[in-house]
Each structure stands twice: as structure tokens, then as C-alpha cells.
Subunit: 430 residues, 2 copies
């Protein structure tokens, strides 16, 4: 906790966080049915107040257009009836997921006679710091409530009107259920300086999840004394091994690069075993060029295409988030793995191979949160991997590694049931 003097505004903010924390205690022991009902009530409330929500969103869009915002930002910001329906569906989907907390599993039966269990509990208060998309104030809060956590949501100022209405809807839902409205606290007037002060309050906030660009995440990580879920970027590789099925390799390449180039699980670099380059690369280049992908290759790769630019050293570390791909020919699996070790971002790494030993070696050796054999990098997604819903993604290994579902919003405590056991024999004497 910081010991610096707080401004009046910051002191008020600290009271808000404290109320959110107290509200979290009420959620932690709330039965599953009541937690689920909150989400279903919110789905109804969103439907009932759809016009108010769309009007507030229109205010945000007008202001953004007036500032000359990019069409990409306007798209992320915009709500419409279809997106509102999607919000409702996702609330019902989260309500239908299994309960992540409360399970008590046997852990050990030590010789002392005590019985040791572990029991899943909520973390407490989750602070989300994010940009543009107003849906986060619905989706992320739903995952927090489902897992018994209180949520503090600090969205970008560009979505302030939309976020404020969503915050009010949560207040109404919580109040109707006789729960403290602070359990979902939407912060609409908190500057980045104040956020940096909040990030010192490690005894009030348990976890920070920043969602947005690399700069936002790096800034939060640099200022925070609270644990931060980090995911800086996705520089994802596809390695086409000598034994690869060429048709399959083309499919994985096109899906990884072209199906949604602006997302973090898209491919940025193609590594090709020298022995398969002749069979694979001309077809790959043709398929990519047909889809307007710009190619930047090593000297050997360049011989397979008339119009391939030379890749610079920076290319191997760049997350293009665009229709650009770097290509390198390697002599063997070891060289591919060494390239990934040096340039990968611990996100998603794919090998296309028919050689089981190579597949195993790749899976065991490559250090990434999701390692795939003969499947598209685009499967690195909470829903696709069977987590049900995703609150974030971690590319560092502490607490969570990879896409984070409900369980990542919990911890396990030890529960010990004894019959009067003591450790020291003398304590047994009266």
C-alpha cells in the first residue's frame, strides 16, 4: 500500500475500492443459483433498457467521430441491436457454466491424522483496465460475479457514456437482489494518474487485467504493485516440417494468417524446413498473394517468389496485425525451435508434421502458452479450447498461462479437518 498522501479525489476512490472489496465478501459465499440469477437479470435489464444504452452509445460515437477517430475504433466502440443480443447470449452462456468455486477436493491424509483438502475460493477484487469496447463492462463483470469476485471496471474515456449506463444497469440488478451495488463498480471519471495510484493498493485489489494494446499493458505492468495478467503481443509461428502434409500446411497457413489478421493468435512468421520448401513454398506464396498478403523473406525464401521483399532483423520480432507475413527457411527442427525461442512471444506456436517424434519434441521444447500440432494458431481462444469463456490471456507463467477462464479468477485454500491433533507431543499434557 502506498504511504503517499492522497488527494481528496484519490481518498474518495479508495473508499470506493473498499466498498467494492466489502461487497466481494458478500459474493464469495453467495449460492451458485443466486450468482447465476444476477447474470440472467442483467440480460433482461439490458433488453429492457436497450434504447437508453443505444442512446448513450450514440453520444460516445458522436464524440469519437468529432475527434476524428479511426473506423477501427468506431467499430470497436459501436453497439447495435445485434451486438446487444450477443451480450445477452453471453450472459446466459456464463450463467450456464459450471461453478468454479466451492469445490472441496481431498488433498492428503498425512500420518498425523488430520485430513487435508483444497477448496476453490474467489480472488476478491478484480480491476479491469481496458479500451473502447463497452461489452467488457458486461462480459468481464459477468465472469467476476460468476466466480464470486467483485469487479472494478475502468474503461476508456471514449466509451464513458455507454459504460456509465452499463454500470447503472448492474447497480439496479444488484440492488434488486439485495446485494451491495459496489460489487460491480464502473469507474468513468478516473484519470491515468489516479489509476497509477490505485495500482499501489495491493491490499485492496487482488488482480489487475489490462486489455488493449501493448503500450497500455506495459504501462500497467510498470506501475503496478498488484499482480498483473500480462500479454504483450502475439508473434506466432507456423513451422512446416519436412514430413508435413502440404495441403494441410496450406490450410493452417491461410487460416492462421488470413482469417483474422488483426488478432493476437494470427500467424506472423512462417518457418519452412528446407527439404519441403520446393513442394510447399510456391503453392503457399500463390495462395497468400491471392489473398493480398505482403511477404518478407530470408534470402533463400526470396528465390521462391519474384516479388518478395527481404525481411529485416526487426521483421522477426514484429506483430504485424495485418496482411503481412515473414518467411524463413530453416535446415531442421532444431533451427526452427531456436528461432521461436529467440523471437516468439510465448503465445501460440504451431508445427505441421507427420513425424510423431518431431511433434513430441516440439510440444515438449517450445515455451509457449499454447503449443499446437497440425492445428491452426487461431484455436488459441478460451471458447475454442473448452474454457467456456475468456477473461484475458497470459503469456507469463505465474497464476495462469494462456487463455484464462473462470478458474483463473479463483485460488485454492487449504482446509484441514482434525480431531484435536497437535504437532508437539508435550502439548498433549494438561
Amino acid at each position: 500500500m502506498t504511504t503517499l498522501p492522497l488527494s481528496d479525489r484519490q481518498w474518495q476512490l479508495q473508499q470506493q475500492v473498499q466498498r467494492c472489496r466489502d461487497a466481494g465478501s458478500a459474493l464469495a459465499t453467495l449460492p451458485l443459483a443466486q450468482r447465476n440469477q444476477l447474470l440472467r437479470d442483467m440480460a433482461n435489464q439490458i433488453a429492457a433498457e436497450q434504447s437508453a444504452l443505444l442512446a448513450a452509445n450514440e453520444q460516445d460515437l458522436l464524440a469519437a467521430r468529432a475527434r476524428g477517430a479511426s473506423s477501427a475504433l468506431l467499430d470497436r466502440l459501436a453497439l447495435n441491436p445485434a451486438r446487444i443480443e450477443a451480450l445477452q447470449s453471453s450472459l446466459h452462456e456464463v450463467a450456464a457454466l459450471p461453478d468454479p468455486i466451492g469445490q472441496r477436493r481431498p488433498f492428503s491424509q498425512p500420518p498425523s491424522g488430520i485430513a487435508v483438502y483444497k477448496q476453490r475460493i474467489p480472488l476478491g477484487v478484480i480491476l479491469m483496465i481496458y479500451e473502447a469496447r463497452p461489452n467488457v463492462a458486461v462480459d468481464a463483470a459477468a465472469l467476476c460475479l460468476k466466480s464470486g469476485n467483485a469487479a472494478m471496471l475502468r474503461g476508456g474515456s471514449e466509451a464513458r457514456h455507454s459504460n456509465a449506463v452499463i454500470g447503472e444497469l448492474w447497480q439496479q440488478v444488484l440492488a434488486s437482489a439485495n446485494l451491495p451495488p459496489a460489487a460491480v463498480t464502473v469507474l468513468t471519471d478516473v484519470s491515468y494518474d489516479d489509476v497509477n495510484v490505485m495500482l499501489q493498493w495491493d491490499e485492496l485489489i487482488d488482480l489487475v487485467i489490462p486489455r488493449g494494446g501493448e503500450a497500455l499493458i506495459r504501462s500497467v505492468a510498470a506501475h503496478s504493485r498488484i499482480p498483473v495478467i500480462r500479454h504483450y503481443k502475439g508473434v506466432c509461428h507456423l513451422f512446416v516440417d519436412a514430413s508435413a502434409d502440404v495441403d494441410m500446411a496450406i490450410r493452417l497457413l491461410i487460416d492462421g494468417k488470413c482469417s483474422r489478421p488483426a488478432v493476437c493468435n494470427a500467424l506472423e512468421t512462417l518457418l519452412v524446413h528446407a527439404d519441403i520448401a520446393e513442394a510447399f513454398l510456391p503453392r503457399a506464396v500463390a495462395a497468400l498473394k491471392a489473398r493480398q498478403v505482403e511477404l518478407r523473406g530470408c534470402a533463400r525464401s526470396q528465390t521462391f517468389s519474384d516479388h518478395m521483399a527481404a525481411a529485416t532483423a526487426a521483421d522477426w520480432d514484429t506483430e504485424y496485425l495485418d496482411r503481412i507475413l515473414s518467411i524463413r527457411i530453416v535446415d531442421d527442427l532444431a533451427e526452427a525451435i531456436a528461432h521461436i525461442r529467440r523471437h516468439g512471444s510465448h503465445h501460440s506456436e504451431v508445427i505441421c508434421t507427420r513425424d510423431e517424434a518431431n511433434a513430441e519434441h516440439f510440444l515438449n521444447t517450445v515455451d509457449a502458452s499454447v503449443v499446437l500440432v497440425n492445428a491452426s494458431s487461431r484455436f488459441n481462444d478460451g471458447g475454442e479450447l473448452g474454457l467456456g469463456a475468456e477473461i484475458g490471456i497470459a503469456t507469463t507463467k505465474l497464476h495462469a498461462y494462456g487463455p484464462m477462464g473462470l478458474e483463473s479468477l479463483t485460488a485454492e485454500k487449504f482446509v484441514v479437518i482434525g480431531h484435536g491433533e497437535v504437532r508437539h507431543p508435550e502439548s498433549r499434557q494438561p
Copy 2:
């Protein structure tokens, strides 16, 4: 990562950390038998070089005595043949534990057709920052190696000669096994300023475990950008419920307070239900006074003893680590839980009761890493809870909560095995 310019010394330190990290990659895929053999070799090496180790330790003890060190510090610092034998035993015990890494467990079978697994992997580089006890350089390094991690050990300057010899023994063991000696790097000449610079290197070091007093842990947590395992203090409570077995409650109290008062799982506060105070407190007071425990009570508790000082507000938050106990009478379970919520430290909390509903309510409501029914707080210990060995204890919930065994030095990555699956239907066209 810091972008500040590094001094020559710090640049050398960064090279050391990088070598340690590279060595960790070699350990991550080392078969279990070879990891275990390292520990057994170290046990032999310690036996072979016992006289060199004792001589170095004598140098540390002489210097500490010359500085007028406390007998407690001298005791923590001292090695002798019995303690060296204990070090060897603990190496063999860790070698005998099950492998924490490499297991691949089925996770999901999504409709896309991919098969999703999770696989345990090492974290990478663990930095231990600790005081006095030279055994940490053996025990902690053993747990790191067993779990496939590289270890950096920064012990206190008071143990520098002992630590240097232990570091050399690890070098010899690693070199004989043809492994990079940097896998266990003992830092003997690194100032606290340099440590604070190291704590910015979050891309080179994966986890920091400080072991020592609260001031050390707070300083590390305040300076670190790397995740830190935190355990500030143990203000542990025993609540004696109205239905408690009085004999059992006395046993739990004496074991919790007297069997080893200076450790973090010792009791600091006794909470007594008003309805059992008359039957329990006079006997409890007599047993405690017979063991020279100083008592500080609330006004109602004071009526049960002629010589009980009044507890001040500060007492309820104090970890005495000594033969002192604060006592408070409460009207019901709710008041006991509220007291623990306000004054507890998320360490160990005990209820003594024969009422199953109260036991369940206590277990579910109290937020501590270890919650116990009818068992001594002193069971909060990795060995006693069945973890096999303990590298630290966490009283915050991220990554680990409570005593940390080998599994806490690992993470799980996602492994996906496919047959050419892609996410977007159009990617299936050539």
C-alpha cells in the same frame, strides 16, 4: 525490463542472469532420473566436502560474533555435522518426490475435433532472496532443480562464506553431469541496490521468493516488477466455540502458542465464545502461565485472571513471535469471524468446535490460506500438509496460496493435437 543505463557491475550481473536462464532451458527437458541424480550427487558432494563447508561457516560465525550478532542469528547461521546430515537427508527426500513436470492431462475435446491437453512445465528462473540460513542454498536449489527450474540465490552477507562454498559444490555437481553450472547461481557480492535493479528484469526472471522478516519481504514487493511470493506475517487465531471440547481446546492452544512461538504459524490471538469462557479460560490461563506466556486481554477476559494486562488496539494486529498472547471474548461465531477478517493475515485460522454447522461456516467464510477445524495452527507447513517439501508460503492468492511445494514452481501450458483443423471455413479451400 528497465531501460535505465546499467553500471558495469550490473551489466555483468545481467549476463549472469542470462546464463542462468539459458541453463534453465537445458533443465526443462532433462529426464527425471537425471534431475534426481543431481540432488543425490549434491548429498555426496556435501559429505565429501564437509570440512571445507564447516570451515567457511566458522569464518561467517567469527565475523558475526565480532559484529555482536544475536544468539538467534548465530543459531540460524550455524552449520554442524548434524545439520549437514539433515541437508543430505532433505536432498534425498526431494529426489524421492514425484516428478512435478511433464505430466500431460486431457483437458477438453471441443467440437472442432482438436484434442486439448495441459502439460506441467517449469517456470524458468527462480530468484531466492533470503537471510542468514545457509541451508536455503541447498534446499531451495534442490526444489528448483527437481522442478526443472534454474535458481539464483542471493543470501545475506552474514552467510557469504558458507553460501560461496555451497555454490561451488553445486557447480561441481552440475559440471560433472555435463550441465551448465549457471543452473544454480549463488550471488555473494550483490548489494541491495543491485538487487533492486535485478527486480526490474521481468523478462529474465520468472519468480522472486523472499524469505525473511516482514521488512525484507515488503522491500522486495515494493521494488519488484517480477511476481513476488508474499508472506508478510502470521497473526493466527484460535476460536474456541461454545461447543468446544475443553481438553482439546487447551491442547490446540498450548501447541499453537508454546511449541515454537517464534514461527509464523504460532498463535497470536485467542478468541473465546462467551458461553464457554467460564469452563475454558481459567484452565487456559493456568496452562499458559505455567509456560511463562504473557497475556493481554480484553476487559471481559481480564476478569478471568488477576494479572492480565489490558490489550491495546495494536495488540490485535501484532505478530509477537514470542511467549505473548492476546485474548478476546466474543459473543458468537459471527463476531469471531469479523475479528479475524479485520485483524487476520490470511495465514492460519483455527476453530475448535463440536458443532458441524459452525465448523462448515468457519471453513467457508474465513479468508486464510489454511483454515483448520480441531487441529493445531502449527500444521500449516508443507511437510505436515502432504506437500513433501516447502519452498515458501504465500498469503496472497495469485499463483499459490499457503505453503508452496514443487507444483508451485511450475505452470501448465496448453497442448493441442489436431488433424489439420482450421477455424474459418474458407481456409479449407486451396
